[in-house]
């Protein structure tokens, strides 16, 4: 029996002892995670789904497998808690993940991230290797009866001029700055954030937000299906909805730019492959292909040489676009993000 040899040869000691202890004949057939892992060269990457996944598969995962023989499998959704939980339990679902600016500070402070070597100079931030920039943009359905088109987050809050349902991400670190902008704070004065003022502003719109989206693909789906009329959405998912032919439009004005970083989970059993992948994924050519397909902005400057000009208008870092946007500044957040998250949950339920 192959299952039996697998069990004898390749299990980690703790698990082997436990399995032998409980040894039911079925236990071998119900192969545990580390068995499959040790057997083949597989790297598990936490996936954001949607257009991110398509671009990553074609430009990062497949070429990486070709070059190294290590196959990439994906696990979703991206979850900070999962990352923390697997370090805590020692059972790894994924070896590599990419985090936004908000989570990476939190994760590194909690000691969840492995130290890595920079692929390019100045790219390392909190043990994460800078990959790409993405944006939360204002988008809306064009099949409404509005006389004007929305221009800013203040218009998102203006339910008299733009009646209809709204949606935002269920993620306070990203939407609090938007509330402050809507309240008239200038982009350069946002950080540190005035949390109380933001919640007061959020109170105004709460009744009109019918969906608090939790996954990128979900935001694209509710916009595409007309479940909501106006939405704060990641630009990649917006373009996915637009490309499917949905009657939608967006503005780059006051788009919130956030940087995403590749990180390696602390003490992952797949350390070498994980580090090799992060280096591969942030090196110029693969990254260029990835951001071209998914319309992200490359953080490795060397990648820009491989990006066709035609691909640039949809990127949040394009020369014409970038000045209209603002960037997140998590190191200067102004409060404990954890506490803000809890307060946000309470606020949602009230």
């Amino acid at each position: 029996m192959t299952a039996f040899t697998k069990r004898n040869g390749l299990l980690r000691p703790t698990r082997r002892r436990f399995l032998q202890g409980t040894a039911a004949a079925g236990a071998a057939a119900l192969s545990a995670p580390s068995i499959a892992r040790a057997q083949s060269d597989v790297l598990y990457v936490n996936s954001w789904g949607g257009p991110w996944l398509e671009a990553a598969t074609a430009n990062l995962f497949e070429p990486f497998a070709e070059q190294t023989g290590i196959r990439v499998e994906t696990v979703s959704p991206v979850s900070f808690a999962k990352l923390a939980a697997q370090v805590r339990t020692g059972v790894y679902e994924f070896d590599v993940t990419s985090l936004g600016g908000g989570d990476i500070v939190r994760a590194n402070q909690a000691g969840l991230l492995e130290e890595i070597e920079p692929t390019y100079p100045d790219g390392l931030f909190e043990n994460g290797m800078g990959s790409h920039a993405f944006a939360t943009v204002l988008a809306w359905r064009t099949d409404t009866d509005w006389q004007e088109t929305p221009q800013s987050w203040a218009d998102f809050w203006d339910v008299d001029r733009f009646p209809g349902t709204r949606s935002l991400q269920r993620y306070p670190a990203r939407i609090i700055p938007l509330a402050l902008l809507a309240d008239g704070v200038a982009p350069q004065d946002l950080y540190p954030l005035d949390i109380d003022r933001a919640f007061a502003k959020l109170d105004e719109i709460k009744a009109h937000i019918t969906v608090w989206w939790t996954a990128g693909a979900q935001s694209a789906q509710i916009l595409r299906d007309g479940e909501v009329d106006m939405i704060g959405i990641w630009h990649g998912n917006y373009f996915a909805a637009e490309d499917e032919g949905a009657p939608v439009a967006m503005t780059w004005n006051q788009a919130e730019i956030e940087r995403a970083y590749w990180v390696v989970a602390k003490d992952t059993p797949n350390m070498e492959a994980a580090k090799a992948f992060v280096e591969f994924a942030t090196s110029a050519e693969p990254l260029a292909g990835f951001v071209t397909q998914a319309n992200y902005g490359a953080l490795n400057p060397a990648a820009n040489a491989f990006i066709a000009d035609a691909a640039k208008p949809r990127m949040p870092t394009a020369p014409d676009t970038y000045p209209q946007t603002f960037e997140q500044d998590m190191l200067n957040f102004g409060a404990d993000p954890e506490e803000v998250s809890m307060r946000f949950e309470e606020w949602l339920a009230s």
Binding site: L30, A32, P33, T89, G90, A215
Partner: protein, 270 residues
Amino acid sequence: MNASLRLIGIFAIVFIAAPLLIVVPMSLSTSASLQFPPPGLWLGYYASYFTDMSWLRPTWNSLVIAFFTTLLTMALVVPATFALVRHRFYGKSVANLMMLMPLAVPHIVMAVGYYSYFGDLRLVFSKTGVVLAHTCLSVPITFLVLSANLKGFDRNLERAARSLGATPRQVFVHITLPILRPSLTISALFAFIQSFDETVVALFISGRDAETLPRKMFDSIRQEADPVIAVISTLLFLIVALALLAPHAMRLTRRMLATASRRTTPRDQT
């Protein structure tokens, strides 16, 4: 009074039937979104279900997990049920209550417990872990079904066999087991379906390599409302419908065949 009750009753039938039936046209829709009426019909999403490993693997996992859960549950519950139904002993009512306990605990509470406990045992995210958890959850329902049938069992049949000289083992194999076979099958089916449908615990502990179908469906509904869900929903509903309707249909055809043959050859029937 009666008329209005009747009206509400008919309304209730529609209320119960409509959600079951709506998934069928949706699974044939060409539109990726939840649009009604469907703009066009095709079988494309059926093709994607049967070719997409990210759906087939959870389906397979669920079948494997449900199978082993059923085996383990039956191995544990059948002897225990015999003890509880056929013997009187000190602490019986406590034992009885213990068998029903898993039914009283909300699944989310157990999910939190398993998440932490199996994490310590390194069983989290493994099929073994899910089977062990599902077995606990399947115990009460299996026990209830089985004990109800065992209580109605006519012990005189066994006594008669014993008085005719059969050994206890012979009685069990030749009398007790054959009589109980239908109820054993049904209680096993309950265990299987309970595991196959269980979502909350699986959501927390099934993870990457043991991802079950309900977990995959839950994630998919929450994230992108993949049209393949309509396909799976239709298939799951059709399996249930066929399983329930098949006996009726068979009885009906048999009756029709019987009447038909009676008509053609009346004299053969005596």
